[in-house]
């Protein structure tokens, strides 16, 4: 179970200005040995108190709004989560990530995996080429208890820059029917066969591209001696329109 990835900013609880009556009320609670903290009193019981509304709606129209009838949604001050705010948040762009050694290492290992597969050649840009952009996607993989398993960076192509007929001919989205999975489980159970599972690492990187696709150099990791060079892709990478088709073709 992943903890919520984005946390709303935790606001300090709004404490209504303690008026004379509220202070007396509080004292009464103390004297009667009732352990009710003033924060836990419901807004209804403190309704005679001045409401902490900063913005008072002015009515220069005939419409009756809910706030004019004193109907308010209960303010949600905190997001409830048993996890504390994570010390590491996922960066949204490469400029946030490069300063962190964990993310830098994650990007390096992704690049090493791509290069060891011979995914691309770095070439001077051909005249008529419009390279497809790419970006980094950062994810923190967590264990079941919420602790950090690993930092994962993935270089993905911006497939929306791809032009049908030029950059790709067909696209594909592999799906599996739940009935197929259940059938397989049924067969295994009926025969008493053991069930195993496996996962292919970097499954995308095993498909050779038939189309010629040019891609820009990854942000943050440009070759400084050849900044205007582009990658000519030899193998599919994540995000390409045709990438998913190659998964099936290699099997």
């Amino acid at each position: 179970m992943l903890p919520p990835l984005r946390h709303l900013q935790v606001l300090p609880p709004l404490s209504p200005p303690i008026s004379e009556s509220n202070a007396n009320l509080h004292h009464e609670y103390l004297h009667s040995d009732l352990h009710v903290s003033p924060a836990s009193t419901s807004p209804a019981s403190t309704s005679p108190l001045p409401c902490p509304i900063t913005h008072i709606p002015t009515c220069n129209h005939s419409m009756t709004t809910r706030s004019m009838n004193n109907i308010f949604k209960p303010k949600q001050l905190n997001t409830v989560s048993k996890h504390s705010l994570p010390p590491f948040l996922e960066p949204t762009c490469v400029s946030q990530a490069v300063s962190h050694p964990e993310w830098h290492a994650a990007m390096s290992s992704e690049l090493i995996a791509l290069m060891s597969h011979g995914t691309w050649d770095l070439i001077p840009p051909p005249k008529d080429c419009k390279p497809v952009g790419c970006k980094w996607v950062f994810r923190i993989k967590r264990k079941a208890d919420g602790s950090i398993d690993k930092f994962k960076a993935r270089l993905v192509a911006k497939d929306y820059n791809q032009c049908p007929g030029v950059d790709y001919k067909e696209t594909f989205s592999p799906v599996v029917k739940p009935a197929t999975i259940r059938t397989m489980l049924n067969i295994a159970v009926m025969n008493g066969w053991p069930l195993r599972q496996m996962d292919v690492n970097n499954a995308f990187l095993h498909g050779m591209l038939s189309e010629t696709v040019y891609m820009m150099q990854p942000p943050g990791f440009k070759d400084f001696s050849k900044p205007d060079y582009v990658y000519r892709l030899r193998k599919a990478i994540y995000g390409l329109k045709q990438a998913l088709m190659f998964i099936l073709m290699i099997w």
Binding site: M1, L185, M198
Partner: protein
């Protein structure tokens, strides 16, 4: 997800994949595409709850 009558052959298939691709052998099936699989004596218990 792999299954078969011959446990040795299943292991051989996994090893063959491992020779060609970089694979992660995840052992016995426990979670597959949103379905949790828990082996019980009567068969398998499936849960769509992580």
């Amino acid at each position: 997800m792999i299954t078969g009558s011959d446990n040795q052959f299943v292991g051989h298939v996994v090893n063959t994949f491992g020779a060609r691709f970089s694979v992660k052998d995840m052992g016995l099936l426990h979670y597959f595409l949103g379905v949790e699989v828990i082996p019980i004596t009567a068969g398998l218990f499936l849960a769509q709850h992580k």
